[in-house]
């Protein structure tokens, strides 16, 4: 016996619509992937929605979104990328907000190598300093700004090795190939405690704040799941997680 055709159609409709309604696709800048996963998990438990997280560099994700990637929310590592997407009407107006403020640190894998006031930059007693490519990474730009403000850029410049992103910059330092470098605080603390090595928290007055913005993308308009997640990101649980990873708010 075969079921009536209309029943099959209804079943298919329900199946598809539930999948669509219950899912939210998030594009997240690689440096925020770990906190995002934790936030997504607690969001899923609390709401029953499903979160699909895709990570990449901000530039890659931008290119993908511009070329029709089906993301509904974008957590960028900067502000200008979302501004560019807004200009192309790829975000929902009025949904953009700063979800985290990155903190820059000068870090070395060797204990005691970086002093608590960053004097080592003036002494220049090292062979290589790793910095993320300032054209690509906001933390790289902030590092350059810091050195400029300290008047040490000219003397340090020949010692710079460039990481393509802050993850690679951190590998250069962690493996000891560069004695020190500028990275995000979020990379060198875990569970609220600093990782091994030595660091100098760069004072906020030496560089423009590294604001990381998020927004609802055009694809996420009128999707309850996407809107709920965006709201959740501003809530207390998410903020606690974000802080524990070394970001400011």
């Amino acid at each position: 016996m075969t079921p009536p055709r209309s029943l099959i159609a209804l079943g298919l409709f329900l199946a598809f619509s539930t999948v669509h309604a219950g899912e939210v696709k998030v594009a997240v800048a690689a440096n925020f992937l770990t906190p995002m996963k934790m936030i997504a998990k607690s969001f899923e438990i609390g709401t029953g929605y499903k979160v699909l997280v895709s990570a990449g560099s901000t530039g890659q994700l931008y290119t993908q979104i511009k070329n029709g990637a089906p993301f509904q929310i974008f957590l960028s590592a900067d502000q200008k990328t979302l501004a560019k997407l807004a200009a192309q009407k790829l975000t929902v107006p009025g949904t953009r907000f700063t979800y985290a403020v990155g903190k820059l640190v000068l870090w070395s894998a060797k204990p005691g190598f970086v002093d608590s006031r960053g004097e080592i930059l003036k002494r220049g007693s090292f062979r290589h300093i790793a910095i993320a490519n300032p054209k690509l990474a906001p933390y790289g730009a902030a590092a350059m700004e810091t050195m400029q403000n300290l008047n040490v850029l000219a003397s340090i410049e020949p010692k710079i090795v460039w990481g393509e992103n802050i993850a690679q910059t951190q590998q250069f330092i962690a493996s000891g190939n560069a004695e020190l470098g500028f990275v995000a605080l979020s990379q060198v603390i875990s569970g609220g405690k600093p990782a091994k090595g030595s660091m100098w928290m760069v004072p906020g007055n030496l560089y423009a704040p590294i604001r990381q913005d998020a927004a609802l993308l055009a694809n996420g308009k009128d999707r309850p799941a996407a809107e709920a997640l965006l709201k959740y990101l501003k809530g207390g649980t998410a903020r606690a997680v974000i802080k524990s990873f070394g970001y400011g708010l």
């Binding site: 790793a130 393509e164 250069f172 493996s175 190939n177």
Partner: protein, 226 residues
Amino acid sequence: MLTATDFTAVVLTLKLAALSTAILMVLGTWLAWQLAHTRSWWKQPVSALVSMPLVLPPTVLGFYLLLLFGPHGPIGQFTQTLGLGALPFTFSGLVVASVIYSLPFVVQPIQNAFETAGRRPLEVAASLRASPRDAFLTVAIPLARPGLLTAAVLGFAHTVGEFGVVLMIGGDIAGETKVASVAIYDHVESLHYANANVLAASMATFAFIVVLTVGLLNHRLAGRDL
């Protein structure tokens, strides 16, 4: 047109590819010879080791080279004892990494060529009073010529196109380790598509011409034999 930095990157890439290819041809021929003619137990393990770059993603390989070559890595400690310093962030480091990375592409065609020719021509040469070294130079090498050419083209092309390894151990220093592939990546990442296109197009054109020229040359030389 190419910017000055991009031009430097192209020149650096060609220098890297040429030098790596030269080293690869010597090292690869030697290794291929050993592998083709040994019946020893170490043949398979060494073959597998040489093939590793085919299996490992370049960034993974680059990451481990970064650790090995670094000041705490065994090779890094060795080079430092020799007074050479650590290899990452230097042009020499890129050459060493490129050689490791492209080794299977060079060893395999040469090894195949040696194995296809077999021992017989060498036995003939020995019966005609040629010492092993003499036979290698006057018989084995000329007979392996198509394999050697293929190896040189693959080694060169592969080094030109190499990205992941260089990215991991280079440090993106202009004139020292910033090669064309990394420069293209930087342009794409910073959304300068026009610059990326020009650079990519010039690299692709150049590579196409090199590969085509060698291919035609080989074809003509092979034709002369028949």
